[in-house]
Amino acid sequence: MSKIKVTDLHKQYADNHVLRGVDLEVKDNEVVVIIGPSGSGKSTLLRTLNKLEEPTSGSVVVHGTDIAQKGVNIDQVREQIGMVFQHFNLFNNLSVGKNIMLAPVELGKLSKEDAVKQAKKLLGVVGLENKFDASVNSLSGGQKQRVAIARALAMNPDIMLFDEPTSALDPEMVGDVLNVMKKLAKEKGMTMVVVTHEMGFAKEVADRVVFVDDGIIQEEGTPDEIFNHPKNDRLKSFLSKILEV
């Protein structure tokens, strides 16, 4: 069953044609990793999946609703899609616990007491049991990103979007965040779309790797197909560049 189905998606800012006809399907429990050079449109693609970017044309069907249409109650769709950002975007005015509790309480999903219990449990899942009362500013980057994952999970989504979740982290923090993501994929069977430069993560966790360049999907396949038997020239050159380093 498909959770997300993108058809002929275009996104254009003035004369900058960022996405030029993307077709993509994400199935239940699938982990899709999107790779590609910077400026290729991969982050824009991810952000159209919960309408943080409005598509210029094409359709984005999530849970059977085409969110590219006008008049869609996007808030209801977003409740079921968690998103994790490159720069964490934790709410600076709230404590760690309240960051996690805000949406479920405000949207009437949980009582305050249940939200506290859930927040503590989720902090346990991401390995930050004792940070419930901590202020956001006292956390390291890696800790912030794990709180951000817990916050997204608090709405009990069945799709998670990750937008370069480890790019802003110090190298020694990357492992912790990736481990949490692996746990999500393997133990919970979460449907995930991940934009990342972590090829190791892609090889290990991805069911499918999608290579985006110049606003279209150039090639997609299993990690083995993409990394060991690339066909597309752009993909070959991209891989040679990142594997050189």
């Binding site: 109650n73 005015n93 805000l102 405000e106 916050r151």
Partner: protein
Amino acid sequence: MKRHFPVIRWLMVLSIGLVVALGLFSAPIKSNAAEKTYQIGTDVTFPPFEYANDNNKYVGIDIDLMNAIAKDQGFKVNFKPTSFNGAIQAVQSGQLNGMVAGMSVTPERKGTFDFSTAYYNSGVVMAVSQNNNDIKSLKDLKGKTIAVKTGTTGAQYAQSIQKKYGFKISTFDDSSNVYEDVLTGNSVACFDDEPVLKYGINQGTKLKIVTKPAAGTPIALGVKKGTNKDLVEKFNAGLAHLKKNGEYKKIMDKYLNAKKNTEDNHSFFGILKQNKTFLWQGFLQTLWLTIVSIIFATIFGVIFGLFGVLPIKFFRGLSSTVIYLFRGMPLLVLALFIYTGIPTLTGTRIPAFIAGVITLMLDEGAYIAAFVKGGIESVDKGQMEAARSLGLPFGKSMRKVILPQGVKLMVPSFINQFIITLKDTSILSIIGILELTQTGKIIIARNLEGFKVWAMVAIIYLVVITLLTWLSNWVKRRAKI
């Protein structure tokens, strides 16, 4: 769609409420008494024609005469003290029925005013500092600067002979400033109506009159051309009656041949003691005006500031326009425009206080809108994206995440704006609101002790601002912002 933009709906309700509230305040004032009440503009800083006496009651030739005529003819007078120019504009806009302010009948004014029978004939004289023996006649003025009060016959006379005698003119809004300018030596001489200058000298101003009265002009009651005929008729009838029964002469003698008032204590504390009730009332009016204006300006500013960050083009455009318009306009111009311009357009009178509050609401509100908008915009864009990505609607995201962070950035600007608002109320003295500055002007017009009275007024402002700052800091601490 249903829960899409509750914030917007909420804001619209608020702004409509605001407009309605203002509308109610500015509803036309009807006088339904059997005796007709006339709104009469006057200057109250123009002794001996009109000024506030030792008990800070309005007296003077114009006031006493008008009251006597009203009594004689059976109507009521409600004096509206503004500046001379303010009164002229208020009469022209229909805010006032007429004005008595030692007003000369000139051909120019006859274009827009109808005048009563003249009740006095005034002549312009020149005065110099008592220890100035160089300036004895108009011929000695070549290359020098002289001082006049705007809108007076003295000013017109000076202009008419300026070329011939080759002097420069400095203009002021108050007689006391004119005299002060001569005494300090910035100007060598001043021109004013003879009775006005004589009064000043009687009060101890160290000036002396060196010319004979010239350019005698009749002084009369003025109404807007083609209106208030009944008022002019009653005034003329009353004046004739008073001249016959001798009351007219009594009033004239009382003010024109007034002996020097030696009982007044002109020391700092003497003046303070004598005027403490008057200053206190002015202070209360300033405080009241500030508080009411701050409340309205904050509501106005927050609404238009929030409009500026809504995801709808129309509201953002509205916000930018309002900020651009009212932040770009000098407060003085805005005050005069609202007080005299709006009634001209709508035919509805606005009380000066309401006009003042609207002025400050628009001007200070525009500044508040600008920093509310700026404060919200300076919150990282990612905060909104994160909130929206969780399924929180725009309004909730704004209230729970963006505003708490934005408000923190706005607090210092708010405190600053409150202090500026308090100071800006002084500008509203131009439309005759009896706040602290206008109170000071009126006291000075009588005793001509500009330096001492302005010192008192300045100290009162400083005390209030200090208190306001303490209060703000206390609130800031309490709110742990």
